[in-house]
Symmetry: D2
Subunit: 329 residues, 4 copies
C-alpha cells in the first residue's frame, strides 16, 4: 500500500496510516508522475531509457551534454543540475561512479538536497561505501526526504534488457515504493535491511565473486599444468564441491565455454578496474568493522596488480591469463 | 601381456570389443575372484565392507589388528602383510593416509611389489602427491603390474553408503576393469587421464573448495558485521555470482542450514587437518610445476594456523568461527 | 599575518632570515608562552609532562578527569574543552586515539576551531588517516591557523624519556616553530613534506615493521622446526640479508634477547590492536591511491585475526606465539 | 684437530682418537692433497678457481666441456664423471643447480658414491631441499664417507672475491676440516648443526629476505604515492623500526642508492627465478613440517607471478617495478 502514496510524498504517506480512501484515485496517476534521474553513463543511460519505456516522464541531468542529448531525443526533459531535478521530481534515481560523486550530487552547491521537497524518495543505485550511504540518508532525512541505497548487479547488458538485480537498503515501509520504480529497470528487487545494507550485499557478493574467480583461475591453471584437460576438469569441479559461479557459468579458461568473455579475448563483461574498485570498498568496510577478510584482501591486491600491468579494461576473468603466462628464460 | 592374469583384466576387456560370448560367462565369475584391500581406516573399512556386500571375496590387511578383526568377522580373509595380499589377489585396492605410507605399502620390505603377480591391477585410493603415484606406476610396471590412482571425494558418510566419487588416473584400457570394482563402492567413477591425473583432479577440487569455503566464511562475517541477516545474505549470494558449493550446500554459518557441520558445532564432516594436508599437496604440485596459486597458498596457510590453534579436528567450515570471534579487550 | 600572534611563529621566523637581533630576546621569552595540550592518554600525558619540565606553561584538557587532575597537580592549567584551550594558547598539541576523535576535537561543537586565534600553530601528534590531516589543515587555514601533522614513533617508554621521533608534515616555514616545541618531547624531529606526509611516513614505517615482524616470526618458527637453534639462526640472519629491526633489535622468540616483550610474555611494548589500527590506515591509504601492497595487506589481516583470538593487548611480536602453537590432535 | 687427518680419510681420523703423533708431519702436506669439484657453473667456476689460487690441486668435472676447458687451462685436472672425481680425491665439493642434479651426481650410475673412498669428505654447496641433504648423508655414510651441506650466500660477485658465506650442516667433528677448505672460497664459515641445517639456515634467510624486499618495495611505492620523497622515506625507515637489509643496503627504488641493481635497471644481482626457487624450497620445508608461513608463502607466489610476466632474469628487487607501474586505461 505504501507505494501508492509516493507521488505526493511522505506526509501523505504518514497520513495513509490513518486511512485515507479519498487519495486512492490519485494513485495510478501518481505512479506516472515525473521521475528524476542523475547520472547517464553506461549504466544510467539504459536505466533511464527503461523508465521512459514504462511511461514515466523523466527529468534528467548529467555532466556530459552528449548523454543528455540522447535521452532528450527520446523524450526526457533535461535540466542543468541535480538541484533542478529535485525541484521538478519527487522520486529521483542516481547512478554515479563513486562515493565522491554521490556526495557532490546530493550535498554539493547545486546538489539534490538544495532543492529537495519533503517526502521525496531518493534512490541511489551507485556502488559506494555503505557509510556514505548512511551519511546521505541522514542528510536527506534532515530535509524531510527519504534516501535508499539500491546498487545493482548485472552489468550493461542486464541494464539494457531491464534485467538488473537491485539490492535495496532503507526504511522498510518505503520499499514498496522503491520496488515499483526499480521493477521497470530490473528483474529482481531484493530488500536487504536498513540504509547501507544494499551496498553491503553488493560488496559481499562481489568480494566472494572475485575470490571464486581467482580461485577458479589458479585451480584450472594448476590442473592443466598437472596434465588435466580443462573441459574435463571443469566438468569434475562442477559435479563436486569445487563448483562455483566462476567455474560453471563464467569459466575463465578460453575454450571451455562459449558466450563468456574468456571466449572473446576477455573483452566485454566486468572490467578488472571495476572489480578492483568494489574490492576496495570491501576492504574499507572490513577495516572499519575490524573484520578479517584474508582472501578478499589478497583478491583486492591481485586485481590492483593486474590494473598496474595492463589488464585494467579486460574482463575480470582475465586473471587466468595474468597467472598463466609461461615462465620465460 | 600385462593384464593376462587378471580375470577381468584388460585382455579380456579388449577381446570383448570383438564380441566374445564365450567369455561372458567367465567374466562375471572372474569378477568375483578375490580382491585385495590394504588400509582399513575410517575410509578403507566401509569401502572394503561394500566390496564384501557386492559378493567379492576380500583379502585384507592393516597395521591395526582391531580393524582387521572387524572385517574378518564379516567374512574377509585377513593376512599379515601387503606382500601376502599380493600373493593371493590380482586386484588390489589401497587406502592409506599419506605418501610415505603408500611408498611403504607398495615398495617396502613386505610391500605389495615384493610378491605382485604379473597383470595385477593395483588401485590406490589414497590422496597423495601425484608424483608419488607416477613413481608407484613405474615401479609396478617393472613387475608387470598396472597401477592406477583413484582418490575419492565424499568422506566417511559417502563411503558407508557406497556413494563415493572416484577420480581415476592411469592407462585408459584398464579403466573399465577399475570401474567395475570401484562401482561397488561409489556412485561416480570418472576417468581423468594418465597416472597421476586422478590425484590432480582431487587436489584441484579441494584447493578450490578451500578457497570457496574461506571466501564464504569471510564474506558472511563481513556481511553480518555490516548489518545483513545471514540467511538473507546467503539467499542473495546464491541467486548471484557469489554462489558456490560452500554458500549453497555447506554453509559455514550456524543457523543458516540444517544437516551440515555448522549446525552441529562443526563436528563430523571433513577435518581441518585433512584439508590442510590436501592443500599441502596442492602447494607441492604448484611449486614443482612453477604455477602461481596465490589464494590456494593463503588458504593452506590459514588452515595451518587453524590446526595450530585448536581447530585440527573440527570440520573445515569452522574457519567461519576462527575468523569470527569478537575482538576482546 | 597568520603567524603574527605566535611568538616563535613563522612571521618572526621569516624575519629572522633577514637578521633581527631585536627580536632575539622576545623569541626566547616567547617560547615560554603557554602551550595547549589536548589528549592526556598513555602517550599524551608524559608528553605534556615533558613540556612542563622544559618550563612551558601548559593549558590542558581531556575527557577523563583523572588524567587532568594528575597534570594539574604538576602545575598545568586544566580547562573544560578544546575550544577553551584554543582561547588561551596559540600553540596547541593534540594527541588522540583515532581519526574521529581528531575531527571532533578540531571541528566539533566545542572544538579548537571554534575559538582558535589567527596564527595559532596546531600540531596533531595522533596517528590518523592522512586525508583527515589534510581536511583539518584546510579547516584550520580557513580560520587563519596553521595545522601540522606530527605523529610519533617510540611508544610510551620513549614518551616518558622525551626520546620520541616526530615525523612532521606541513608548511615548511613553520617547521622550525614546530621543532622547537617537539624537541622538548622527542629526540628526533624530521620534516617530511606537505601536510599529511608525517602520517604517510608513520604509516609506511609501521607497515614495513609489521611485515618484518611477521616475516621474522615465521622464519624463526620454520628454522626451529628444521632443527636450528633460535639464537644461532638469529645470529646468521643478522649477519646476512635477512637482517631487519625485528630480528636484530626486537626479536619475537622468547629466550633470544633480553629486555624485549618476547622476554616478558609479550607484555608491554606495542599492542597488537594498535598495530592492526595502523595497518588499517595503511590499507585505506593504499586503497585510495590504488597502490598494490600485498604483504602489507596480509599483515593487516593477520593482526586482525590475532585481535579476534585473544592477542589484542599483547605486544605485536606475539605473532610468533600465534603462529607457533603445536598442532593438536 | 679433526681436520688434520682429513687428507688420509676417516680411518686415520678414527685412529687419531687413540693418539697418533707419527701422523703429525703428514698434516700440512695433507691439506694440499687434491680436492675434487663437481659443477663448474656461474658459482662453481670461481669457487674452483679460488681453490687453485690457494694451491689446492683440483680434480674437476662438469657436463659442459667449455667450463671444464677453462678450468683445465688454469691447471685443474679434468675427468669424465663424478665417479672418477671420487676415485682421485678424498675431499670433494659439489655446486649444482637443484635437488635432482645433486641426487644424480651423488647416487647416479656414474655418481660420486660409485667410487667414493672411505673417509672421504663430501661438501655440497648447492641450495637444495634439506631432506635431500639428509638422504645424501645417509647414502654417503653407508659407503663410509661423510656428507655435509654447505650452501652459500653472496652471489657470483662474492664467489669471485672469495667472500662467500658458507652455512654448514653435518657432524660437528668434521666442521674444522670443512672450514679449512671453504675458507679458501669464503669469508664466513658458520656451523649450523646436523646435516640439513646449513640448507635450513640458507632457506630461512632467503625467505625473510624476500619478505623484506617485497615489503620494502610496496612500502616505498605507497610512500611515494602519498607524496613522500623516496630518499627521505628511506632515511626515515632506516632510522626507525621499518629498517631492514632491503631498505638500507639494497634499496629497490631507482635513484635512492648507487651500486645496487635498482640503479642499473635491475640487471645483475640475484635473479627473480632463483629467488622463486629458494622460496619453493622454503614452502616445501614449511609444508612438510606443518609450519605456517603466510608471508613467505605469499612472497613465493609473487615471485612466481613475476617469473610468468617477464621478470625471471631481472634482479629480485625489481618487484618494486612489478608493483609500481601506473594504472593504464
Amino acid at each position: 500500500m505504501a507505494a501508492l502514496f509516493r507521488a505526493t510524498g511522505s506526509v501523505l504517506h504518514r497520513c495513509s496510516k490513518h486511512g485515507n480512501v479519498a487519495l486512492a484515485s490519485s494513485r495510478s496517476m501518481a505512479s506516472k508522475t515525473p521521475v528524476g534521474f542523475v547520472g547517464l553513463g553506461n549504466m544510467g543511460s539504459p536505466m533511464a531509457k527503461n523508465l521512459l519505456k514504462h511511461g514515466y516522464p523523466v527529468i534528467a541531468t548529467d555532466v556530459f551534454p552528449v548523454s543528455c542529448k540522447e535521452l532528450q531525443d527520446l523524450g526526457a526533459q533535461v535540466v542543468e543540475s541535480p538541484a533542478e531535478v529535485a525541484d521538478k521530481a519527487d522520486r529521483i534515481i542516481t547512478m554515479l561512479p563513486s562515493s565522491p560523486n554521490v556526495i557532490e550530487v546530493y550535498t554539493g552547491p547545486s546538489g539534490i538536497l538544495k532543492k529537495v521537497k519533503k517526502g521525496t524518495l531518493l534512490i541511489d543505485s551507485s556502488t559506494i561505501d555503505p557509510t556514505v550511504s548512511k551519511e546521505m540518508a541522514i542528510a536527506a532525512e534532515k530535509m524531510g526526504a527519504v534516501f535508499m541505497d539500491a546498487p545493482v548487479s548485472g552489468g550493461v547488458g542486464a541494464a539494457n534488457l531491464a534485467k538488473l538485480t537491485f539490492m535495496v537498503g532503507g526504511v522498510e515501509e518505503e520499499f514498496t515504493a522503491a520496488k515499483e520504480l526499480l521493477s521497470s529497470m530490473g528483474a529482481n528487487v531484493v530488500y536487504c535491511g536498513p540504509v547501507g545494507t544494499g551496498q553491503a550485499a553488493k560488496i559481499c557478493n562481489n568480494m566472494l565473486l572475485a575470490i571464486g574467480m581467482i580461485g577458479t583461475a589458479e585451480t584450472m591453471n594448476l590442473g592443466i599444468r598437472l596434465g588435466l584437460d580443462p573441459k574435463l576438469l571443469t566438468k569434475i569441479l562442477n559435479m563436486s564441491s569445487g563448483r562455483c559461479w566462476s567455474s560453471d557459468t563464467y569459466n575463465p579458461v578460453p575454450g571451455v565455454m562459449e558466450g563468456v568473455p574468456s571466449a572473446n579475448n576477455y573483452q566485454g563483461g566486468f572490467g578488472t578496474t571495476l572489480m578492483a574498485k568494489d574490492l576496495g570498498l570491501a576492504q574499507d568496510s572490513a577495516t572499519s568493522t575490524k573484520t578479517s577478510v584474508p582472501l578478499g584482501s589478497l583478491a583486492h591486491q591481485i586485481y590492483r596488480m593486474m590494473c598496474a600491468r595492463g589488464y585494467a579494461s579486460k574482463d575480470f576473468s582475465s586473471v587466468f591469463q595474468f597467472l598463466r603466462e609461461e615462465e620465460g628464460q
